[in-house]
Amino acid sequence: MSGFIKRTRAWLVAFALLVVWELSCRLFHIPEFILPAPTRILEVTWQFRNELALHAFQTLMTTIVGFFIAIVVGILLGVAVGSSSAVYDSLYPLLIGFNSIPKVAVVPLIVIWTGIGTIPAIVTAFVISFFPIVVNVATGLASVEPEMRDVLRILGATRYEMLRKVSFPRALPYLFASLKVAITLAFIGSVVSETIASNYGIGFLMLSASSRFQVALVFSGVIIIAIMSIAMFAICIQVERRMVSWAYRSQAA
């Protein structure tokens, strides 16, 4: 019984929250354009299911494309920063400076350069999510024990061999940890871009719904983004478990 409670605790809390929400809306007669009741959100979601699916697919697609570009660029930059002190010294301050810029402020620029619609959403998703990947890959590469480096140098290993056989596998758990952060950021990026400059995507749908005071539909958008984000997060965890099971020995033991 206690095991069952433990497994379902999160669901129970979420359900209780929804009940409180529903009851407050009904008891205090909160107008729908301020806070719609969960049942009403469900109803609207069903009513606009086709539009929601279309826009959700657009957002998911731009997010995933941006995310994959971020993985490729993040790994390449991370390897460059993590394996050469010259690159580290010259690039790292720049990267940190770049990362401290609020990306929302850059979106208008991205729109000027790349137009409206899908491309700026992909670019924003990429720009906002690649930084944690760079930092983690670089950190992971640096975590190789100095003794191991000495062993490899004495064996005459090339830089490429060191990277492929030791440093990169060593950095994989760090990479996957950063992917879980990056995928959530990528969703933020594409939705922000859609609210600013697009005629597609959940971001656009929420913006136009709120301008028409269809607050229930705005909530539908929020919930769908949350569901997609959680799903992608879960996929990242599954891939992580498969690729770096050796890093989770305590569970397996």
């Binding site: 000495d150 004495i154 005459g156 050796w246």
Partner: protein, 282 residues
């Protein structure tokens, strides 16, 4: 036997044969070697010769530059003074054909024991070019070595499934699987309990008598040094200097009973007194 097939071509062997008529040149030669880190002198005027196949131990108080000595011989650190030769060639960068093991086993956690020991064979020629085409032969070679150190049944385990002693055995295997001319050991048994430690002395001696590599063992355990080495060097406090050179006349193979031999005990006590004198002379 497999090891013969895998040996390097005729020329190095020929030169060894030719040189046997003269006294064979030392495998490692240090002449007036010193090292400064900034203003701090870590090692001063170290001069020693290590013969081919000799096993030496370097002992001394902690922080006396024992590990520095190791890094210098293998070319991982350039000396600030003096000359170092390894295998009749001046050391100018990281040397090839040495093996190393440290106190920390540093096995790769995603590789099984066999694959961990296999690592040098994937990097060092002539094995590297065979590692695709003839992997089976190399796996047999690894298995042989694992059998010798008593890890025969643990080849497919991951490092975290091994005890500290077993990890250190695998570490030793990885250090000598490519049959290096020189094995460098930096306090490899320091973190092990007394029983495991003495087991591994035995394992190391067996490996040495089997492969006849030149060995340098850095340790602060005098009993270990005397048990394993042909020659023990005693170093002073910083700046490290070589104070004594002590030949160990005990017969091989040495056995656990050897530690009760009066000669053994006498040498250990003598060395202990010397080190105590060094420490007090601050």
């Amino acid at each position: 036997m497999l090891t013969h097939k895998l040996a390097t071509p005729v020329y190095p062997e020929l030169s060894t044969i030719l040189s046997t008529s003269k006294p064979s040149p030392p495998m490692v030669r240090m002449a007036g070697v010193s090292l400064k880190y900034g203003d701090m002198l870590a090692l001063e005027d170290a001069t020693l010769d290590i013969a081919d196949g000799e096993f030496v131990a370097v002992v001394g108080p902690s922080g006396c530059g024992k590990s520095t000595l190791m890094k210098l011989v293998t070319g991982l650190l350039p000396p600030t003074g003096g000359d170092i030769e390894f295998d009749r060639k001046r050391v100018t960068g990281p040397v090839r054909g040495a093996g190393m093991a440290f106190q920390n086993a540093t096995l790769l956690p995603w590789r099984t024991t066999t694959d961990n020991v296999m690592l040098p064979l994937e990097i060092v020629e002539p094995y590297k070019s065979q590692s695709r085409s003839n992997r089976k032969a190399l796996e047999d070679k690894v298995q042989n070595l694992l059998d010798i150190v008593g890890l025969g049944d643990f080849g497919d385990r991951l490092p975290w499934q091994l005890s500290g002693g077993m990890q250190q055995r695998a570490n030793l295997c990885r250090a000598i699987i490519h049959e290096p001319k020189l094995l460098m050991l930096d306090e490899p048994f320091a973190a092990l309990d007394a029983f495991t430690k003495e087991d591994l002395w035995q394992v190391l001696q067996d490996l040495w008598m089997h492969q006849k590599f030149t060995g340098i063992l850095v340790t602060h355990d005098l009993r270990e040094a005397v048990y394993l080495a042909d020659t023990v060097y005693v170093m002073s406090n910083r700046p490290g200097r070589i104070l004594h050179r002590c030949h160990i006349p005990l017969d091989r193979p040495r056995r656990p009973e050897t530690t009760f031999d009066p000669v053994y005990t006498e040498i250990v006590n003598d060395l202990r007194a010397k080190i105590a004198a060094v420490r007090n002379a601050k």
